[in-house]
């Protein structure tokens, strides 16, 4: 079931009505029921994988809670610091063992579903052998998302950064919460527990704002992302030699916008649905294309994934025994630069796993490596930037900011060629054509309209992008666009509301052979 579908809107409507009718203490049961139903309808079966992750996560949490209590009791008996240290080490070892086992089990489940369930039937079909057992296995919805979310809880519970949950059903709701289960944002248990448990009172304004955000997300998805998708898919599917580099440049720039519109559109819809239920989801995008560096770009793009990797991979590695040993040894040997070795290894690990999480191809591995190297080098050189800027007499200002933004777009552009290409060979050919056969004039010729989008589609796209740009600039300046519109006279207000709804209904990409509702990030 997709967020843009009749069945979802019906489910949302029922949940909304029931949610505000039942006693406040029972509201989270409605969410749990809806989330399980969403899973069952979406899968046309039982979400066994989700249940296994839920049970093991819950069990691990309970064990950690018990050991933490025992540790506190034991610490009360200690008289000096050394004794306390020893007691802590003993309990930490026990906790780590169970945490590691649970994490390995759940990562194993993820690998099983992502690789075995996909690959084995293909091999069996090709060779005509095998029992066909895996053909009948159902891939759980959002397994990549809820597995990482579960790991986050396991680590947080062990670190006492969140309370241990004693109710299995709440863990299941946390993992399966229906608006965000398929594509995030990644949530933290501490925050979501508060959201689920508080008494939610119906607020007309909040409901309206939620619906507005949902429609805005649908606008980005249906009017912008899916329209761009037609052009990008067509360009990237033809023989590279037959297309001028300029067309590939245009397709890649549009692909950058498509990815953003598609993913942030989904997040807007998930957040909008949640807002109508008086639940706040964490921000996942903060206008990334206004970033002036790659590091800033990734602080604004898929924020919750970035924070997940930073907290659970980067800091976990650097602060671990191994990370500390490496850090100390390198610091003793090379002092200044040596102390950066462990953070650089941590950054490379983060980007290796980010690449792996996004896709299983070599292109994605290289994409991760590319960002890892850029992030590490830019962070290492950061102290030098001020010196270089002074030497070159570069002043901070609008022009410099614009240059930094364009430089960031360029870096993202190259990375996106890599992930949009079907293979490394195709990416190589495209890079070559961008240098040797740019033929920029092709963008103004009739050829540009021969890839699925006609003149009027381009005009419509341009208009939609302009609306998006105006909204983004306003938000960047700190304006709450929905509040601004709400403060306008009724006529202006309803022109804006109906205008967007009409644009979505009339100019959205629906039906036909093009899969309108599949979100790009769902495949990650």
């Amino acid at each position: 079931m997709q967020l843009i579908s009749y069945s979802f809107v019906i489910l949302w409507g029922f949940v909304f009505a029931l949610y505000y009718l039942v006693p406040k203490k029972g509201q989270w049961y409605v969410l749990l029921g809806a989330s399980l139903l969403f899973n069952c309808i979406g899968l046309r079966g039982f979400p066994l994988g989700l249940l296994l992750t839920g049970i093991t996560t819950y069990g691990c949490g309970m064990y950690l809670g018990k050991k933490l209590d025992q540790e506190k009791e034991a610490l009360k008996q200690c008289t000096d610091r050394e004794e306390k240290k020893a007691v802590k080490a003993v309990f930490q070892k026990k906790r780590k063992k169970v945490q590691t086992l649970t994490i390995v089990f759940n990562l194993g489940l993820l690998l099983f579903y992502k690789y075995a369930v996909v690959a084995v039937p293909l091999v069996e079909r090709a060779t005509g052998s095998g029992a066909g057992f895996l053909e009948r296995v159902i891939m759980p919805l959002g397994i990549s998302f809820y597995t990482l979310t579960a790991i986050g809880y396991i680590v947080d519970a062990g670190r006492e950064n969140c309370a241990v949950e004693t109710d299995l059903l709440k863990i299941l709701l946390f993992l399966a919460y229906f608006p965000s289960v398929t594509q995030g944002p990644f949530t933290r248990f501490k925050q979501m527990k508060e959201e689920f448990e508080k008494a939610h009172v119906f607020q007309y304004d909040r409901m309206l704002r939620g619906i507005q955000r949902f429609v805005w997300g649908a606008f980005k998805k249906l009017v912008i992302a899916d329209r761009i998708g037609i052009f990008v898919d067509r360009v990237y599917s033809v023989d590279v030699a037959s297309v001028p580099g300029g067309i590939f440049a245009c397709a890649t720039v549009l692909y950058m916008l498509q990815l953003y519109a598609d993913f942030s559109g989904y997040i807007d819809m998930a957040a909008g649905v949640s807002e109508t239920l008086d639940i706040t989801l964490p921000d996942n995008f903060r206008r990334p294309y206004f970033a002036r560096s790659v590091a800033e770009f990734w602080r604004r793009w898929h924020i919750t994934l970035g924070n997940w990797f930073k907290d659970y991979v980067m800091f976990s590695f650097v602060m671990s025994g191994t990370g500390r040993k490496i850090g100390k040894a390198c610091k003793n040997k090379w002092n200044g630069l040596g102390r950066q070795v462990a953070p650089v290894i941590g950054t490379m690990l983060v980007w290796f796993f980010t690449g792996l999480w996004h896709g299983r191809t070599v292109n994605y591995m290289l994409w991760g490596l590319y960002y890892g190297v850029i992030m590490s080098v830019s962070l290492l050189l950061e102290p030098k930037y001020a010196v270089w800027k002074e030497k070159l007499s570069i002043k901070d200002g609008k022009l410099w900011s614009l240059f930094c933004m364009v430089r960031t777009w360029g870096i993202v552009f190259l990375a996106d060629v890599l992930i949009r290409s079907g293979s490394l060979a195709q990416a190589g050919e495209i890079f070559t054509s961008l240098v040797t056969r740019l033929h920029i004039g092709s963008l103004l010729s009739a050829e540009i309209t021969s890839y699925g989008l006609g003149k009027y589609d381009f005009l419509l796209l341009l208009m939609a992008l302009l609306i998006w740009l105006v909204v983004s600039v306003s938000e960047e300046r700190g304006l709450d666009v929905r509040a601004v519109i709400a403060g306008k006279p009724m006529v202006v207000r309803w022109i804006c509301y109906y205008g967007i709804v009409l644009l979505v209904l009339v100019t959205g990409i629906y039906g036909g052979s093009y899969d309108t509702a599949a979100f790009m990030y769902q495949s990650f």
């Binding site: 062990g158 670190r159 006492e160 950064n161 590091a295 800033e296 602080r299 924020i303 924070n307 930073k310 907290d311 980067m314 800091f315 976990s316 650097v318 602060m319 671990s320 850090g327 610091k331 102390r339 950066q340 462990a342 953070p343 941590g346 950054t347 962070l379 290492l380 950061e382």
Partner: protein, 76 residues
């Protein structure tokens, strides 16, 4: 102690001293490399061990939070 912590912060990230918000990491005032270097210097200076569980945005939201964290760890 406060003075020493502020000195360490100044050495790695001057902006942190002037920052008055409550999420230095998200606001891009302090990046993960700087956090790691600050943690390493604080550990050395005050003979404490700052476990990964303390290296979260909440404890690095501003200079006051960092001072509070060191104080808490020294009391333990």
């Amino acid at each position: 102690m406060e003075e020493k912590i502020l000195e360490i912060l100044e050495e790695h990230c001057e902006e942190a001293l002037e920052y008055e918000g409550d999420n230095m990491m998200e606001d891009g005032v302090i990046d993960s490399f700087t956090v790691i270097n600050v943690v390493s210097d604080l550990e050395e200076e005050f003979d404490i061990e700052i476990d990964a569980k303390y290296v979260v945005a909440e404890n690095f939201r501003n200079k006051e939070a960092i001072i509070a964290l060191v104080q808490k760890l020294m009391e333990e």
